[in-house]
């Protein structure tokens, strides 16, 4: 297993997922590093690059959720970071704040489906979710994002 090649392939994906959860570049970097370190410490056998990517997405999602669950982080607010990122979002993007505002349970799903292009079947397999449950979650996310998206490929 060449960790550098895997890193090159998936670092952007892993980091973006971490940013979606943590909304803080430094925390996202830590989570990203930890996801790859986990893989180094516990090498996996992957059937494909998609499987490899999905493992990393799930791993970094868990790491982010763990971090968010820590008592100190709930009480901590990085005012400068929040102010800075909100300013950036307002300037450049109206959609990203909506994605940040999604419930945790929907963020990975939205990312995997709309950005990475996984099918609902694949997502349900990787996230161990019932497919009908996943669809209802997708509907909820779509409503929250006010997306006008086609459903033909679902």
């Amino acid at each position: 297993m060449n960790i550098e090649q895997i890193y090159e392939r998936h670092v952007d994906t892993v980091y973006r997922v971490a940013m979606l959860y943590l909304n803080n570049p430094q925390d996202a970097e830590d989570a990203t590093q930890n996801a790859f370190i986990n893989l180094m410490k516990h090498p996996q056998t992957f059937t494909s690059e998609e499987h490899e990517k999905a493992w990393l997405i799930v791993t970094v999602t868990n790491l982010c959720k763990n971090q968010l669950s820590h008592w100190f982080r709930k009480k901590r607010t990085d005012f400068e970071v929040v102010a800075e990122s909100m300013h950036e979002h307002k300037e450049r993007d109206e959609l990203l704040p909506l994605v940040y505002a999604l419930p945790e349970e929907l963020k990975t799903i939205v990312y995997m489906y709309y950005y990475e292009g996984y099918s609902t079947r694949e997502i349900s397999q990787y996230l161990q979710l019932n497919e009908s449950t996943l669809r209802s979650k997708m509907q909820k996310a779509r409503a929250m994002l006010k997306l006008e998206l086609e459903e033909a490929d679902e």
Partner: protein, 246 residues
């Protein structure tokens, strides 16, 4: 809004080239960056610090034995030290090395800093890793069954459980949910602990007058694989512990 706009938005979350290089460097070192020391790492560092002090004060008497016979009479033996460490949370008095005394005397706990509650720390469980592998257990309910992959996140010695629930109802539908729990305990105020010390409550020591108390500290001690908070007071060159948990 459409799919392309969303994709473009998410693209903006990508790391910069500098970030990519920095993260790769850190991965090669096998550790996350420590640009900011999070509180949970600080907790682990404090626990390690106390462990070091404990080891140091255990070893100190031997060094002092060689230097000074009168001091040896006052210093605890290694066996005594072990016994004391085991019964630490049982409010036994403790004799500590001079440097430890110095540290506590110069960093007395301030009453107004006492929090209403504190977390209880646990030893890190290195066997648990994040990822797809999870330990599952089935919990039968009245009309549903919990299938629970339990990820015990003992990271950095804080007890925090993140439990994912997969609830399967009798009609066949399922629902995913999760809860996270951190075990915290209610903590007495400094004044309350001092009062109990003076009344001889929660301590196997005699009652002491508050005027005899030279300093006090709220700190963590190990008990049953957990680190719990206690108050430690210095009274006439003797350390007396009082339970901090209400």
């Amino acid at each position: 809004m459409n799919r392309e706009q969303l994709k473009a938005s998410l693209e903006r979350l990508s790391p910069s080239e500098e970030q990519r290089k920095r993260m790769l460097d850190q991965i090669h070192k096998g550790a996350p960056s420590n640009k900011r020391l999070p509180f949970f790492k600080l907790g682990a560092a404090l626990a390690a610090l106390f462990a070091l002090f404990f080891l140091y004060t255990e070893l100190l008497p031997f060094g002092e034995n060689n230097k000074s016979a009168p001091m040896a009479a006052e210093a605890p033996t290694a066996d005594q030290a072990v016994t004391e460490s085991v019964s630490m949370a049982g409010s036994e008095s403790l004799h500590r090395g001079a440097d430890y005394d110095f540290l506590l005397e110069h960093t007395p706990w301030k009453a107004e800093q006492t929090p209403a509650s504190l977390p209880v720390f646990a030893k890190q469980n290195e066997d648990k890793e994040d990822g797809l592998q999870t330990e599952r257990m089935e919990i039968p309910g009245e009309d549903y069954t919990y299938s629970v992959p339990v990820e015990s996140t003992y990271e950095a010695q804080i007890v925090a459980f993140l439990v994912h629930y997969s609830i399967r109802y009798s009609d066949g539908t399922t629902e995913e949910s999760q809860v996270s729990m951190v075990r915290t305990v209610q903590v007495k105020s400094y004044d309350q602990a001092l009062e109990e010390l003076s009344q001889g409550k929660n301590s196997k020591q005699r009652a002491v007058q508050q005027s005899q108390v030279q300093s006090g500290q709220l700190l963590y001690v190990e008990q049953d694989d957990e680190l719990i908070p206690i108050y430690r007071f210095k009274v006439q060159d003797e350390w007396i512990d009082v339970q901090a948990i209400k």
